[in-house]
Symmetry: C2
Subunit: 479 residues, 2 copies
């Protein structure tokens, strides 16, 4: 970009094209409600609109902008629509988008402190801010023996936690000698699939991951954990890792961290806590009870890319003992040696994660926190929870629908009383309408609809309209 | 952004702030040569400029823009400077930056086809384009049994390849039962640290990774591989995976893929090829020889985020048999079930990677390929190689310096004849000048300087000035 060499986009072209892209994005968000939320294309439709081969000669940027509307938009499921109530919000915001733009514009690598000190230091600093903002235990602050950093996802965080636990449990021999099939991990039968995937990836094996039974609210039953640990020890196995969830994916269940944590402390197991979506709620003091018991945790993560207006990817990962994590993941080949690393005075985040390279992801998080302020973030989290609770009251007050479980925060699990087939048809019909998008899960073996309130632009009118649409569509199907 | 709710950035504010950010980035690239390439801050300097705590009230976006220049820029090592010759280029470009901006603006998740069909289909399509553009074996095209996708990094690709190999070698039992310590992997003693890290992460163990000796050009010695496999089999171990490199990190060595591949085929081992930086050279027919032997490979990766003007992260990962990879990494919890997945007619890329979530990374790659065209990309790759070769000739023609190895492409390894201490001092002095940035490695036990030509804006005058500076600084140190 900086030089007048042929083929490159000159700074002036970048200005012109950049302004056009900004304008396109602004308009996209202004008209986002005019699109069907759930994409209607059929498999292969998008590819059929693309040229079979790559272009020999460069094209105009204007043509690319035109193709976004023509080719890409029909194939988009509009996660940023205020009528998107599916999966998890994955919400974003103006400051986050511009933070990501800056990250791309600077184009630096943050693998080592030395490769751009600001990339490392801003990340450490903002992660410390979040300890204050969420009321997390101070052991997660960087001036303690612990600290925080940004992972790609909660999956990455779970793997790093499991690896550090694996190393600690084997006197730091598993990296060297591999696994021996005796280590056992624990989570609940409602935990996210990433915990199972972590057990596969790290060589622990799915058969060595115990899925502990849950209670009537789908929360981890600690007494069953204690029992299973005893059985495993009696069988000569080596329990080493427990993962609990603050807000499960299916139903937003809150695992009893204090009881699980006490067992982990007694049994000397690594205690990881995954609060991917729900951790954001702790911005508000009235919701901080969800973190009770976190004082027992060895590691913790939550995703600002789920419910904190920060575009994907941005998972905040904290450890109580950074030395274990670093010892587990550090490799220092000659080509990465440098004075700052050798001084011991800096953090090199490549030693806290799976990949070597890393982009400057804290910029968007810094922008979001500064633009909204603590007050602005609290305002929206409260509003989303209120709207979900209001929706839950409508469900409770309806003769045709029922709540599957009382919703603790912003995710409502409900069903029509006419049974699984009816609920499946209802979901399909609603999503095909394009007016809103919901997804489902299974709870107690029954098909269950999920409505999550958390999109950046979602207001009362959207939730109210969703409810009206659900009632009307159910009425049509009943006849 | 879409609604007039308090605290959010409105579309009009987004327009204004977005234009300001575009302008800031344009100016940054215009004046990038005025900054010292290597950041001069001391540990803690950046944090000392930041407020101790997070803001209660939201701030103006103008203040954030101001802080970039004031707080962030001093802590930046300018990877995009045309005087950056360190590590690997990690180059970016106008179309890539605007592609990343669009990705952030759309804010969609591409974990499943259904969660935004365009995200999956554009990725498959562009990865097929690259098979043509690079002259890769057709088994890597999506209409074969194989296919391509975008990973975060070559580290992620190596782990996925090793996992699929691990599963294949254990009749798909290692995910279930963990590792048993008998599997053995192979790479060269010049391979990237990510291969060692993959062996640690996947439970194989570093002691089960053989670092095969290299020849006088630092390339993998296939006869030593065959020998080691025989020894391991005789000891009751199970060889399962070989990783070869096209362009090693230290010295850009090209491993002899045909010989290694033939051994893998005979021994039925998974053959992975990592061409992180150098794979881009195959855009030019005259450099495609580096891929000879790729017809034996089970998996292959190269990084457009290294040398193809596409900002980090963007690693293109291909497999010859996608069924093995998908069987290895697939998990389908109820909350992800959907009609498209069940139809079997679509790709769900979450089953090709470690994390569940994924962003729309193919947009930037699509923009880069379209904006430059094949011709534009070829032009710059050729130019970078020419400039590196020219630099190598200056080294060879100098009485004081020597080439450590003939440079095959755009990375030159050289040293001053006065020995390690002198070269260390020379490197420090050069980098402290701020005029250019080089890094080092060790080859044959000797301290070696590395100069990589590959930044987007690097032209002959920058390479010429770098050489002048190197000669002058060495002269100062000699006196």
């Amino acid at each position: 970009m900086s030089a007048p060499v042929s083929y490159h986009m000159t700074p002036d072209e970048f200005r012109r094209n950049g302004r056009a892209m900004i304008e396109w994005i602004a308009q996209y968000h202004e008209r986002i409600e005019s699109y069907p939320v759930f994409s209607r294309v059929k498999p292969g439709d998008v590819r059929a609109s693309l040229p079979a081969g790559p272009p020999l000669k460069g094209e105009n940027f204007e043509d690319m902008l035109g193709d976004i509307e023509k080719i890409i938009i029909p194939g988009i499921t509009h996660w940023q629509s205020p009528n998107f109530f599916a999966y998890f919000p994955s919400n974003t915001s103006g400051p986050a988008i511009l933070g990501e733009l800056l990250t791309a514009g600077l184009g630096v690598q943050g693998m080592l402190w030395a490769t751009s000190p600001a990339c490392t230091e801003l990340e450490t600093h903002v992660l410390d801010w979040l300890v204050d903002m969420l009321g997390l235990p101070s052991k997660f602050r960087s001036e303690s023996a612990g600290g925080g950093m940004i992972q790609d996802t909660a999956s990455g965080a779970a793997i790093c936690a499991m690896l550090a636990a694996r190393e600690r449990a084997t006197d730091f021999r598993s990296n060297q000698h591999g696994c021996d099939g005796r280590l056992v991990a624990y989570t609940s039968d409602q935990a996210h699939s990433s915990i199972e995937k972590a057990a596969m990836i790290t060589g622990i094996g799915r058969s060595n991951l115990r899925l502990i039974e849950t209670d009537e609210r789908f929360a981890f039953r600690p007494e069953r954990l204690a029992e299973q640990i005893r059985i495993d020890r009696n069988n000569g196995l080596v329990p080493f890792f427990v993962s609990a969830t603050v807000g499960t994916t299916s139903s937003n269940a809150l695992d009893p961290l204090p009881d699980i944590g006490a067992i982990c402390a007694r049994e000397k197991l690594w205690f990881h806590v995954d609060a991917a979506m729900s951790g954001t709620a702790a911005l508000c003091p009235e919701f901080r009870y969800i973190q009770n018991g976190l004082e027992f945790a060895d590691s913790y993560c939550f995703n600002p890319h789920k419910w904190m207006f920060t575009n994907f990817d941005c998972d905040c990962f904290y450890v109580a003992d950074r030395a274990s994590l670093i010892k587990t993941l550090s490799i220092l080949p000659e080509y990465l040696r440098n004075k700052a690393t050798e001084s011991g005075a800096v953090i090199d985040y490549r030693d806290w994660q799976i990949p070597l390279g890393r982009r400057f992801r804290s910029l968007k998080l810094w922008f979001v926190i500064r633009y909204y302020g603590i007050e602005g973030l609290q305002y929206h989290v409260r509003r989303h929870v209120e709207l979900a609770q209001e929706f839950a009251r409508w469900i409770s007050g309806s003769g045709d629908f029922e709540l599957v479980v009382p919703p603790p925060l912003n995710l409502v699990c409900f069903r029509h009383k006419r049974g699984d087939d009816f609920n499946k048809k209802l979901l399909d019909r609603l999503n095909e309408s394009g007016d809103l998008y919901l997804t489902h899960t299974t709870l107690n073996g029954r098909y269950t609809l999920r409505l999550v309130v958390g999109q950046t632009g979602t207001e009362e009118r959207h939730v109210r309209r969703a409810w009206g649409k659900i009632v009307a569509t159910a009425g049509e199907l009943e006849n």
